[in-house]
Symmetry: C2
DNA sequence: TAAAGTTTAGACAGTTCGTCAGAATTTGAC
DNA sequence: GTCAAATTCTGACGAACTGTCTAAACTTTA
C-alpha cells in the first residue's frame, strides 16, 4: 500500500499544480485565457493527462471556484467567532466578505462564472456536490448567528422573515454589491465614493430595520471595524499590504 | 432618399430579426446554444450578413442585453410614476424588477453574461455606450425618488449615505437576490420559501433602517402590492397569465 | 440594357474542446 | 537483472465555432 500511497500523493500534487496554474492563467489573462491546452503546456503535461483530472473545462472551473469559496468559508468562520454581540459578528462576516473580494478580484469573478447554467450543467457531480456543501456551510454559519441573536432576545422575532430569510437578504446585498463593484459600471462617476463602506452600511441598515440590538452609532461602527482589523484579520491585511479596508474619508 | 430609406428599413428589420432569433436560441438552448452560425441558419442568411450587423458574438450579446434593459427601464418608469409616497414608488420599482425577471428568466441571465469582462472587452463602443446610457437612466430614475423623499422630509438626511449610495444599496440587494434565485442554489431546500417576497421585504428593511417615512405595516404593504397589480402592471401580469407576483402564504 | 455599385454567400484559416489508439513508463514476479 | 502485464502519458484527430475575405449575385441608375 506504500506504493499506491506514493502514487496517490503524486497524483494529488499534480492536481494541485494544475489548479494553481489555471488560477494563475485566469489572474494573468482573464477567463478566456484559461484553456486546457495552455494549462497542459504550462504544466508540461499533455492534454490527455489534464483530462484525467478534470472531465472538462467546466469541471476545472468549478473546482477552482470551490477553492475560492473554501477560503471565504475560513474567513467567515473567523468572523463568526468574533467576541461581541451576534450583530457584531454579522458585521464581521460582511467585513470578511469584502476582505475576500479584495484578496483577489478573481474570487468573486469565479463565483459569477461558475453560477452559470452552461458551467454547472457540464461539471462533475462530485465537484458540484462539494460546491453545494461549502455553500451550505457558509449559510449555516450565518444562520447560527441569526438564531443566536433571536435566542438572546437581541433580534425581535419577525413573523414575515425566518432566520434563513434574513441571511438570504444580507447575502443578496453583499453578493450583488460586490458584483456591481466588480463590473464595468463606474460607480465613482455616478457618485458612490466608497463602495465597500456603503455596502457594509447597507447591511447595517437591514439590521436596523429589524431592530436588531444593539443599534450602531457611527462611533461604535468605527470602533468595531478597528477591532476586526486588529483582532480578526491582522494577518490577512498584512498580506495585502494595507492597514485598513475602508479608507477613512475624514482627515 | 426614398430608396435609401427603404433600404434602411429593410436593414433595420433584418437587425431585429437577428436579435429576435438570437433571443429565441438562448431561450431554447441556453447561452452556449447561441452561435453565429445558428443565427445565420435560422434567419436564412449567411454568416457574412450577420457579421455586417454585429462585429462579433459579444456585440450581439450586449445588444440583446440592451433590449432586455430597455424593457426594465420602461417598467421602472411606470413604477416611478406610482401615485403615492416616494417610498411607495421605490417599493414599486422593486416590484417592477421582480416582474421583469419573471417575464423571462433570460432577462437577468443576460445581464449576468454581459457583465463579464471577456464580453465587454470585445463589444462595440457603440453598443457599450448604449448599455451605459440605459443604466444611467435607470439610476437617475431611482435617485430622483430618493432625492424627492429627502426634499419632502420623508427621508432624514444621512451624513454617511448620499442618495446615490442608497440607490446602490437597494440595487445591490435586488440584483444579487435575483441572481441567487436564478442560480442552482435550492433556496427552498435551505428554508427560504417565498424568495421574491423576502427580497422585497429586505428592501423595505433598508428603508426602515433609514427611517424613511411612512414606515410600512404588513397591512399597508399588502395593500400597496395589490395597488401595483391593478394600477401599474395589470397588462404585464395578464400577459404572464398570473394574478399576483407574490403568492400569498396565508389562506 | 449594361456598367457601376452594393450586398450576400460560403469556403477558409485559426482556435479550442474532448477522444483515443498507440507509445512510454512503471511494476512485480521470477 | 529481465520481461510481461499493468498503468500512465502523448499528441494527432474530428468536431464545432469564430471571424475574414473573395467571388458571385443582385440592385441601381443612366
Amino acid at each position: 500500500m506504500q506504493q499506491t500511497s506514493r502514487k496517490q500523493r503524486e497524483r494529488d500534487n499534480r492536481h494541485s499544480l494544475f489548479l494553481e496554474l489555471a488560477a494563475k492563467l485566469i489572474e494573468d489573462e482573464g477567463f478566456p485565457g484559461l484553456s486546457m491546452d495552455r494549462v497542459a503546456e504550462l504544466a508540461e503535461y499533455s492534454k490527455g493527462t489534464i483530462y484525467q483530472h478534470f472531465s472538462c473545462r467546466e469541471d476545472l472551473l468549478v473546482q477552482l471556484c470551490n477553492q475560492s469559496l473554501s477560503k471565504l468559508l475560513e474567513l467567515m468562520k473567523i468572523a463568526a467567532g468574533f467576541d461581541g454581540h451576534h450583530r457584531d459578528c454579522i458585521v464581521a462576516t460582511v467585513y470578511a466578505h469584502t476582505l475576500w473580494t479584495r484578496q483577489s478580484a478573481c474570487n468573486i469573478d469565479m463565483l459569477q462564472h461558475t453560477a452559470v447554467a452552461s458551467v454547472t450543467s457540464k461539471a462533475t457531480e462530485n465537484s458540484l456536490a462539494q460546491h453545494k456543501h461549502i455553500e451550505q456551510e457558509l449559510m449555516a454559519t450565518l444562520v447560527e448567528l441569526v438564531q443566536g441573536a433571536i435566542n438572546n432576545n437581541e433580534l425581535p422575532k419577525n413573523k414575515q422573515l425566518n432566520p434563513m430569510d434574513v441571511v438570504f437578504g444580507l447575502w443578496s446585498t453583499c453578493y450583488g454589491g460586490q458584483l456591481i463593484i466588480n463590473s464595468d459600471i463606474e460607480l465613482s462617476e455616478l457618485g458612490v465614493k466608497n463602495t465597500h463602506a456603503v455596502l457594509l452600511r447597507t447591511a447595517c441598515l437591514i439590521m436596523d430595520g429589524m431592530q436588531w440590538q444593539p443599534l450602531h452609532s457611527e462611533k461604535r461602527l468605527k470602533k468595531l471595524l478597528a477591532r476586526f482589523e486588529t483582532e480578526l484579520f491582522a494577518n490577512e491585511l498584512n498580506q495585502l499590504g494595507i492597514k485598513t479596508l475602508f479608507e477613512s474619508q475624514t482627515k
